[in-house]
Symmetry: D2
Subunit: 360 residues, 4 copies
Amino acid sequence: MSSEFGNKLRVSIFGQSHGSAVGCVISGLPSGEAIDFDALQTFMERRRGGKGILTTARSEADRPEFLSGIENGITCAFPVCAVIKNGDKHSKDYEKLIHTPRPGHADYTAFMKWGGFADMRGGGHFSGRLTAPLCIAGGIAKQILEKRGIYIGAHISEIHGVKDEPFPLFPDKALFDSISQKATPVISDARGREMEKEIENAKMNMDSVGGIVECAVTGVMPGLGEAMFDGVENKLSQALFGIPAVKGVEFGAGFEAARLMGSENNDAFRMDENGKVFTETNHAGGILGGITNGMPIVMRAAFKPTPSIAKKQATVNLSSGENTEIEIHGRHDPCVVVRAVPVVEAAAAIVILDLLLEGK
Amino acid sequence: MSSEFGNKLRVSIFGQSHGSAVGCVISGLPSGEAIDFDALQTFMERRRGGKGILTTARSEADRPEFLSGIENGITCAFPVCAVIKNGDKHSKDYEKLIHTPRPGHADYTAFMKWGGFADMRGGGHFSGRLTAPLCIAGGIAKQILEKRGIYIGAHISEIHGVKDEPFPLFPDKALFDSISQKATPVISDARGREMEKEIENAKMNMDSVGGIVECAVTGVMPGLGEAMFDGVENKLSQALFGIPAVKGVEFGAGFEAARLMGSENNDAFRMDENGKVFTETNHAGGILGGITNGMPIVMRAAFKPTPSIAKKQATVNLSSGENTEIEIHGRHDPCVVVRAVPVVEAAAAIVILDLLLEGK
Amino acid sequence: MSSEFGNKLRVSIFGQSHGSAVGCVISGLPSGEAIDFDALQTFMERRRGGKGILTTARSEADRPEFLSGIENGITCAFPVCAVIKNGDKHSKDYEKLIHTPRPGHADYTAFMKWGGFADMRGGGHFSGRLTAPLCIAGGIAKQILEKRGIYIGAHISEIHGVKDEPFPLFPDKALFDSISQKATPVISDARGREMEKEIENAKMNMDSVGGIVECAVTGVMPGLGEAMFDGVENKLSQALFGIPAVKGVEFGAGFEAARLMGSENNDAFRMDENGKVFTETNHAGGILGGITNGMPIVMRAAFKPTPSIAKKQATVNLSSGENTEIEIHGRHDPCVVVRAVPVVEAAAAIVILDLLLEGK
Amino acid sequence: MSSEFGNKLRVSIFGQSHGSAVGCVISGLPSGEAIDFDALQTFMERRRGGKGILTTARSEADRPEFLSGIENGITCAFPVCAVIKNGDKHSKDYEKLIHTPRPGHADYTAFMKWGGFADMRGGGHFSGRLTAPLCIAGGIAKQILEKRGIYIGAHISEIHGVKDEPFPLFPDKALFDSISQKATPVISDARGREMEKEIENAKMNMDSVGGIVECAVTGVMPGLGEAMFDGVENKLSQALFGIPAVKGVEFGAGFEAARLMGSENNDAFRMDENGKVFTETNHAGGILGGITNGMPIVMRAAFKPTPSIAKKQATVNLSSGENTEIEIHGRHDPCVVVRAVPVVEAAAAIVILDLLLEGK
């Protein structure tokens, strides 16, 4: 199943970084939904490189062509296929790496799995480039959710130890919008500037840094998700670990919950004046027993530092069977986290729309 | 799909905490495998309560009865059904809680999903009791993996801030065995005693504590897992979030990777004298691009503190629509992490055997 | 996935003919549904042998024990596990057959797949005995459908060339009930008596006969099912071929449609006085493009003659590698079709309830 | 899941008849397989219209563009996306039909499911046009199977009552090749000419005819497939009912088995001089208990007559709520069966390759 995700809503992703195109097939979308292509493009731009010193110079327009499933701008009941042609390929930058796997990349594991047949130029199907079609699917899902009062936003929560403020207990659309318009999508601009400095330092040192993205989903009704293996956390984590470089996922208080007392971590239920139940804190991240409780769903995904660094690194030569070293050239983000923010939103949007379509 | 997991190997779990029985159906096991029932029982005992002051007094024997799939102690190609009768139920301890959902439990979300029909006595299908059938399936998977040279071990990595030593780069079966025989399964006994103190303190204060379990899998061939959504991390996290109280999952350096430079986090490939490739560090936790690289798979799961605490807590009355308070009586672990150690191993074993059966 | 079926409603079947028990796990049932256990037992009795000369003498009570998922007779949101203990085993009748596969049985294919480890006593997991748990799941599904105005009935459409009348264009519950109470469940009793003669003849000749079961589902709303591979026909056929001995499945006019002109086969749409659309004929069997059109769903399943016959048959000895002969003793139906009628209803009920839960 | 099929090998089909393109994503193909594009095109041509009086005049080249998954003509481990642009659309022929559903088509059921949003021009996603991407996937699967000694062939078994000879007990590649080169793919050319007459008559009478396609798969090892719901018959039938107009599927003797005695229908096992087991007859169609027995897999699919006929037909007007009539103009096959032959092969190839990849 590999590059497919979802139950009622299914997303299937195809393409290699240096192949002809990347794209996706999205099936199970509600019919009759008008797609705002400008908004989708704006969303896609947030993921795209080429905007500044902090991200790579690769500059495709990333404008998807829709081959099916949308007629006159409206979903027409059948699977949507969207394609982005790869216009800006520099394969020779990478070709020499085939026998000397790059540390931290999937070169070695792909070789062990497919014995040299995998098209790993530019990272192949493992490349961050494949998050573009994920953003097409997620961007469409996000629009459909917004019409149902469900909003999704994310910010950089941490880069190389520099932390942004956390989301407030009830983040709102205005906050999400404001963050999404920033070049460095954070709540505190002061912290954002510190993060930028960390990234610039890493770049100057021919190195890279990682970070954490925090994402919140508001407006979700209570009762979505299933017990045990098909709960909200199970599905969100399955999707989030599908984003390249993610090495950890947590919900609500997450790992910090392991350091709290039960009396601190439990979220007291309260009823507001309209009889609506809420919790005074949200250590559960909106999920109890795998099922939504109506509070914002809050998750964090940890990204490792970009494995492609200009520094010399130790590796092996799989042909000669000897230890060797490599230097990786080409264009690489010193930090993928900036561009990963909308990708995390996209993954969350796909899962939440799938849950919504599956119903209580 | 809810309480089912896996592709080639499928585990389906049934039962409620205070129903007649809990159990599982396991399909897709290799045929012709002799099951060591004593070893399975020993494994089950590690999960069971009633052993000391640190765990609950519930004392069922938890001895599974096998209704199908095993003949003369050998798997016979067809689905295995195993059942544990529930002998020791005290439903009335819980019945009064129906209208006042317990903070941190699934009472409220189950009510919002199923409107009062869910059998939530003792936590129903969300109870830690349901990890017993998970351990049957996982214990069998573990035995089958061991015959193929794959070993799984886990220890308490942290309780309420007290940290055990981490696993060494290459943990071995002897270490796993030694840990598994301890009442408090840790590497450093000194740290274990500190953890025990934290748990006793919590109990005395009518409170509870959470913690982290670290699990390692050794002997896995490189090349297992798929790109993107069906990788080793995706599947392990989907399984681990199926264990009650888990709120975070990470692999290798995990969240800490977000604080490292690329040059620190990348694991240098090296070749040993026999031409076997290994990495000098294991920040990747044995997984690159979702695919095993032959190094030990290392994961950590964060458990929140037991939500059932004797302290008075604020909640709502769903019948009267008013804010109220509850006190939870009955038997409860002040810390589920001790008993969760084999459960994490069980979940990992199911995933790894499934991956192995799916092949490269 | 083998012995599991369904999307929202999942049925997982376990057990071997001569093992301890057979049973099923049913997950995804709506909660709050009262189960009529007497009606379920009556339904189970229709499948059970021991009633007359036409069926085998095996006489277990086939009374399921429910281990989970039903409390106080009401579905309680969690997976239902039902078990029937196997009380009446005569394994030695079969044991000698292990090396000489019985023609028409799964002995040979099981041997080639599992190399002798499969528990094939009495047919193992391939035995008609496994339709008992299918009938538990189907019987429960049928009750839930009836409360929603959906009725399912079936009759023997043909045995060894003797044909019953077909269902009328709009069969109703009264017809279904009347058929279901007959020892030989047919519309025309005269034809039923002829069928009985065919079966008796076969028995006297130490032989067996096959037949066809026709099943109809009424009251299904238009719009259920999906295009292409997840349509109503795809799912019903997947379930029906799960019943032992089924070798053909058709819908509406089925194979006969291949002999009609388009102008004969097309069902003209008409509107009744209440504005309800119907078709004047039902060659489509209630399904167009894989989606229900509101007319009765009509399907037929062809059953091969019971492969177990007392006549001497040619086979091979897999140990010695020589051609040989076998005679099969023991209790065997001369015709499984009589008992298969409720089994077809059960399979249909599971599929239709699953479709209903998935929604339009 | 709708337009997706398979477990290890996954095929996802997209496109509407009068949209921009049709295509498919194929994931799970073995890597390192050289694709013979000429052979694929020859296979595609067999399905394409425009060749004679017996098929429609639509004349796209149907030449797929491969966007991913194949590099330098070799499968490169990642999902294959193939696209065929729709060049020859005459949408206005169909547009007037929206409110008056065509008998025998999915117009009405699509309307009831998606309430007018479905793009049903030219049949939309239900059109026979969507069998083109199915043939891309199936044509590639067929090539991969042939390299492993597995051959798939099909012929028209019957058209409007005129029957071709059946396949011999052991059909071979030469026979498959010879049939596949005929304009009317049959074994007996004399019968083929009678069939052509039936089709011409139907056309002259502004009517249509249906028929039956018989397909055989040779060279499959014994032991593929699973018991109960995931057997070879279950999967093949699920795929075959995904082909538009299929209303019946049978294996081996199929419905005719219902008219045989057990002693006639049972296939006697024999051992040849090399110790290879075969059966003297093949009423089982190569499948016992859902598992392959090494004999040719034989299946038949019944196709209803093309629902689009030029004759005036009774239908309803869904806007005005009145009974009315329609005449369907435009280009339509008087018989889809001729073009369906390679489509049945394609569906079979996908299933068999999936089974092979899943292993014993």
